[in-house]
C-alpha cells in the first residue's frame, strides 16, 4: 500500500504552494484519481488524515474525483471506456494501436485555503474565518 507515500506527497506539495502565498490553514484539497492510477481513494483519504497531522493542512478535507479510463484507436477513430481490468484492444480493428486519453491521473487540482489575517488586530483571537 503506497497511499501513505502518495498522501505525504500531496501534503508536501500543498504546504510548498501555501507557504509563499501566506495561507493560514488549508480547508480542502481536491485530487483527481484515474481509474488506472493504482490508488484506492478510501485508502488515500485515510492516509491523508494522518499525513496532515501537525501541518497547516491539519483538519483539511480531501475531495477525490475518479476519472474513468478512456482509450482511443487512431486508425478507426473509435473511443471507448477501458473498464477495469482495462481493455486496450480496439473492438473494431482488433489491434492495439490505441492511446489512453484518461485514466492515469493522480493530480492535485484545487486547494481551498484561508489567508492569514493581514491587519494586526488589537487582540488577535484565534478563530476560523468563513468565506
Amino acid at each position: 500500500m503506497h497511499e501513505m507515500s502518495v498522501a505525504l506527497s500531496v501534503v508536501d506539495q500543498v504546504e510548498q504552494a501555501a507557504r509563499p502565498q501566506g495561507a493560514h490553514g488549508v480547508r480542502r484539497v481536491a485530487v483527481e484519481i484515474g481509474e488506472l492510477a493504482g490508488v484506492v481513494p478510501d485508502a488515500l483519504a485515510f492516509c491523508f488524515e494522518l499525513a496532515c497531522a501537525g501541518t497547516r493542512l491539519e483538519g483539511a478535507e480531501l475531495v477525490t474525483r475518479s476519472v474513468p479510463g478512456r482509450a482511443h484507436c487512431t486508425p478507426c477513430g473509435r473511443g471507448w471506456d477501458t473498464g477495469m481490468p482495462p481493455d486496450m484492444i480496439c473492438a473494431v480493428c482488433r489491434a492495439g494501436a490505441t492511446e489512453l486519453l484518461t485514466g492515469r491521473e493522480l493530480r492535485i487540482t484545487e486547494v481551498h485555503w484561508s489567508a492569514a489575517p493581514t491587519a494586526p488586530g488589537p487582540a488577535p483571537v484565534p478563530q476560523s474565518e468563513e468565506s
Partner: protein, 231 residues
Amino acid sequence: MCRTVDLRQAVLAKNTMAAGILRTELTARGTTVVNLLSSPGSGKTALLERELQLCRERGLATAALTADLATENDATRLARSGVPVKQVLTDGLCHLEADMLAGHLHDWLPDPTRLLFVENVGNLVCPASYDLGESLRVVLASVTEGEDKPLKYPAAFGLAQLVIVTKSDLAGPAAFDEAAFRAHVERVNPGVEVVLTSVRTGEGAGVLVDRALAAADGERVHAPVMARAGA
C-alpha cells in the same frame, strides 16, 4: 478570507523528476537501468542469478541492487555470480522511489557499469507507480500464479516493456494456460513481448540480458499504451 487555488500538480511529479534526472546522469555514465517487478516468490532472484552469471561470462560490466523489507538473503545469492551487488532494506516500505535509488547508487555504483539490474520489492501494486529512471521495465510472473495475474494487476503489467514468465518447467503440473496468459497480457498491454523462462531447463536464458543490452544500445523499447497517457 478563503480562496480556492487551481494547483494542477501531478502528485508523483517529484519522483518523476528525480527519475528523469537519474536516467540522464546514468546514461551519461554509460549505465542502463533495468527495473524488475513481480510478486514475492515469482523467481526474480533465481532468474537474476542466472542472468548475472551470463553477464559475467560475457564480460559485461554489470551490477545489481536488490530491495527487500528485511534480510540480506537475496544479495548473498546474487553475489555468488561475482558481479557487484547491493542489498537495500526498505524497513517496511513497499516500493523503491527514484531519490532512494539515487541515494543508494551514490558512492556505490562501480564505474564503468553497463547494466544495472534493480530487483524491486516483491509487490505488484506499489512499485508500478514509481519510475526509477529505468530504460527497461520488466514484470515477471511464474506459471504457478495463474493466467489472470495481468488482469488482477493491470498497472504493473500495463506499464511493462517486457513480460517474463518464470518456472516454465512447472507449466504442465500447474496446468498453466499459456494462450490465456498471453491474451490477458495483450489486453492490458498490446504489443508487449512475453518470454517464457526456466532456470531449471535453461529456457529463455539470456533473453533478459539481450533485451537490456538492446535498450542500452538505444534500440526502440516497447511503449505501453498505458504509459502514453498524458496524466
